[in-house]
Amino acid sequence: MPILQSVGQWWLPVAISQHAVAYDVQFTRTLVVAAIIFIAAQSALVAIVWRFRDRGTAASKIETSQSSRLEFYWTTATAIVFLGLLALGGRIWAGVQFTAAPAGAEKIEVLGKQFAWSFRYAGPDGRFGRTNIRFVNDAAGNSFGLDPDDPSGKDDIVSATLHVPSGRSVELTLTSQDVIHSFFVRELRMKQDLVPGMRIPIHFLANIPGTYEIPCAELCGLGHSQMHTTMIVMPPDAYDRWKREWEQAQ
């Protein structure tokens, strides 16, 4: 790939949800503060060393005058800047972490295992079937271990890619069968570990249809860097059509 084309990719990717847009604002804010401090501190360091470089013979140490007023000012100022930044970002955190998914959100289960992703949809009956690791058979497509005796599992859809509708809330329930994995969609600015023994919910609302890569973001073994799939955000009607086709195929 030509280098100039690459340079365009050296930053945050497109933001496809409201949360991601708010995220970028907070990121930029923090970046501006960091850049100002960086330039100020580094140039002050160089400038002071240059300005007070020794030209004569070094004498014995002189007593430095102390200033508690200065200490007080810069302690307070940094506290205000740092905690202020945090407070500004707190709302965005609360927005995604403290609120439950709205009623009617599309419910999808996410399963991680060494080294593949699986996604499960409830099917027309709206109920997820029972699972048990006894029934797990990756070769036969039963990565979740759906219990064949449970009728509510008959119509469950299991997919290796994540399909979601745009403009509609989606609630994912994350779980792992073996070790810790982490679900990361850069364009959503979200990441959540999949912890075996836990079922962790997250929710989002993607607005921009497209195909987005999902890397595993928690070291899970030798195939960690190959644990790849995609999230396909589809317009709602295309999404409904996709689900129907799956249902008919089963």
Binding site: W10, Q42, K61, T64, E71, G197, L219, G221
Partner: protein, 676 residues
């Protein structure tokens, strides 16, 4: 001298760690390269000379482990601290010379055990220096290196924890009890303050890591499930465990892991202050503020471990608390930077190599700290967690800053340690090449992190979004080679100077701290009257308490989430044990030390007998978590009692430790009995 032994050990370790990093950087940009000697060294890890992902991950694990545990926490504290703390406070030596040797040899043995992980079948572990279970807990089924390699890794860490804890006890006792006349706490050099606070952090952290490591070892070998949940299927193997919590490991690990950052960097901060003062010909600006800043950084550092867990599934409400505390650490850190600038201001600055590295320390400390401002915000961390942005952050603030502190220490103290002056021209070449190298390496690393590049990837070939980042990775690999090449200049300087460097005078920098001036006079007047015993025992009590606090919190958490908790019928010997210990306390108070020691032996025998009864009735570690905790905690207690008996026979002051043990046993019985 033990300080020097530590120094040479960490020098070996840093060479290994550096070599591993070059192999990694090379592989990342040449994932398909066939290098014949790879196959010679790692027949299984590099068939045909092509490095496999598992080999890459094991190199990565070992790089992190070696750098953190055998370089960053050894050189600044154990090497320079053991050497210079007594000299700077006018003491004749460390408080407990035997302890000094024991802690060094524990560290050395630990290093050998760690290196052995390379040569066992399956190779070194691949679970990273954080060793998160279940990956690290279920054995070879989860990956190569997770068998014997991971076991050796854990054994090595456990040994290191013991060595580091004993070292910390020694530092604290020396600082509190052995200061020469006139050396008050507030007049101690800031280096001593930072070693002191670092020792407190080690004393708080390492016992907790030890507890976690022991529990993980048992999960691997004794069939317990502290960290392994039920219903696991790892590469088609059903793991027959129930009810453990992977997050419990993360809490315990990071309770140690975050203070570890400050263990690495606080000594560098202290030394930077002293060096800037010496070479500006000015006393330190805001000296008292600096002491308070050091203390508050250490204190806050103990309370922020949760910021490593924002994406772990931990409660989002606790994230807020951890975030506030983490951001607050920025305040004393900024105060330090302001005070360094304040010290420089109006000085007559001599730019020696030692001074350059101290100034470089300030520079990378600021740069590395600023990325912390992003990561401390939970919402921003949702994106940056486990990306190269985090790598850039901690390599700068923990790795490079601490290394600059180490280099400053070497150049500054070399005349005092070896009587010779390191070459300043080579020193300056080394400094500027390293400075350019690390910025060229780590600034672009932020950028790939902003693009979302996950860390701990063995190659970047499976994701479209990683392809455009490859030019940056190539650049970083070149920068890594430049940085490492610059270190050759340093090693050459070191060797040439030791062989035939110019002689140094007694005080070449015209410093004013005691290691250069008239410390000897002070030391001769410092008799054995102050023996370091009382503060030492307090420190031991604190360390043992941290160990049991870690076990207790694991107990409470594991009990709280448990689906498989069954009560254990305790053998009656546990109650008899309480009576024996209390009787021992009475004996101690009456002055019959030998009788108390005898009762200690009786306690040990009774407990062994009780265990035997319990095992005979079919209760093993694997029976239930309650049984596992009973064996682990009473076992750890038994070891403490043995220590207590030895102490009783050697030091009359060990009486207090004996009372402490009695209290601890009653606390444990209460925990088992009422929280069952």
């Amino acid at each position: 001298m033990v300080g020097l032994q530590y120094f040479w050990l960490s020098l070996v370790a840093v060479i290994v760690g550096m070599a591993l990093s070059l192999l990694m950087r090379f592989h990342l940009v040449n994932p398909d390269a066939k290098i014949p000697w790879f196959e010679t060294v790692w027949p299984a890890g590099a068939p045909g000379g092509v490095m496999t992902p598992e080999l890459y991950l094991s190199l990565m694990t070992m790089h992190g482990t070696i750098m953190v545990f055998f370089v960053l926490s050894v050189t600044p504290q154990s090497a320079f601290g053991n050497y210079f703390l007594p000299l700077q406070i006018g003491a004749r030596g460390m408080a407990f010379p035997i302890l000094t040797s024991v802690s060094f040899w524990a560290t050395a043995v630990s290093f050998v055990v760690m290196m052995a992980a390379f040569i066992v079948p399956g190779g070194a572990p691949l679970s990273g220096w954080t060793a998160y279970p279940p990956l690290s807990a279920v054995g070879g089924v989860s990956g190569p290196g997770e068998g014997m390699g991971q076991t050796l890794w854990l054994c090595s860490i456990a040994i290191l924890c013991i060595g580091s804890t004993l070292g910390a006890v020694n530092f604290i006792a020396t600082t509190l009890d052995l200061r020469g006349p006139g050396v008050t706490m507030m007049r101690m050099p800031l280096t001593c303050w930072s070693w002191f606070v670092t020792a407190i952090l080690s004393l708080m952290g390492f016992p907790v890591l030890l507890a976690a490591g022991v529990l993980l070892l048992l999960d691997r070998s004794a069939g317990t499930s502290f960290f392994v949940p039920g219903g696991l299927l790892v590469s088609d193997h059903v793991i027959a465990r129930e009810g453990g919590s992977p997050l419990l490991w993360q809490y315990l690990f990071w309770f140690f892991g975050h203070p570890e950052v400050y263990i690495a960097i606080l000594p560098g901060m202290g030394l930077t202050s002293e060096i800037i003062s010496t070479f500006s010909r000015k006393t330190i600006f805001g000296r008292t503020a600096m002491i308070f800043a050091t203390f508050s950084i250490g204190f806050l550092g103990l309370l922020v471990w949760g910021h490593h867990m924002f994406t772990s599934g931990m409660s989002p409400y606790s994230s807020i608390a951890f975030a506030v505390l983490s951001m607050t650490i920025g305040v004393p850190s900024a105060v330090k930077t302001f005070n360094w600038l304040g010290t420089l201001w109006g000085g007559r600055i001599r730019v020696t190599t030692a001074m350059l590295f101290a100034l470089g320390f300030v520079s990378v400390f600021v740069t590395g700290g600023l990325s912390g401002m992003f990561l401390a915000q939970p919402v921003l961390d949702l994106y940056f967690h486990d990306t190269y942005f985090v790598l850039a952050h901690f390599h700068l603030i923990m790795g490079v800053a601490a290394l600059f502190g180490i280099f400053a220490a070497v150049f500054y103290w070399f005349p005092r340690m070896f009587g010779r002056m390191l070459n300043e021209t080579l020193g300056k070449i080394h400094f500027f090449a390293t400075l350019v190298g690390v910025y060229a390496l780590f600034l672009p690393m932020h950028v790939v992190g902003i693009a979302g590049n996950p860390r701990r990837y063995a190659d970047f070939t499976n994701f479209e979004f990683l392809t455009p980042l490859l030019p940056l990775h190539q650049f970083m690999t070149w920068a890594a080679f430049l940085t490492v090449s610059a270190q050759i200049v340093f090693f050459a300087n070191l060797i040439l100077t030791i062989l035939r460097g110019p002689e140094a005078g007694t005080n070449p920098w015209r410093a004013e701290t005691l290691e250069w001036t008239d410390g000897a006079a002070l030391r001769s007047g410092n008799s054995a009257a102050r023996s370091g015993v009382s503060a030492g025992f307090l420190a031991v009590v604190a360390a043992v308490s941290m160990l049991f606090a870690a076990f207790s919190s694991a107990y409470v958490v594991r009990h709280g989430i448990s689906s498989d908790w069954t009560t254990v019928p305790f053998p009656p010997t546990v109650w008899a044990g309480a009576a024996i210990l209390l009787l021992g306390s009475v004996m101690v108070e009456l002055g019959y030390m030998n009788a108390a020691a005898g009762l200690g032996v009786l306690f040990a025998l009774a407990q062994l007998w009780g265990w035997q009864k319990l095992i005979q009735s079919g209760v093993s570690m694997a029976s239930s978590p309650a049984a596992a905790f009973f064996y682990v905690m009473s076992g750890a207690f038994l070891i403490s009692v043995v220590g207590g008996v030895v102490a009783l026979l050697r030091h009359p002051r060990a009486a207090y430790f004996w009372h402490y043990l009695s209290g601890l046993w009653i606390y444990l019985l209460g925990l088992f009995y009422f929280w069952n």
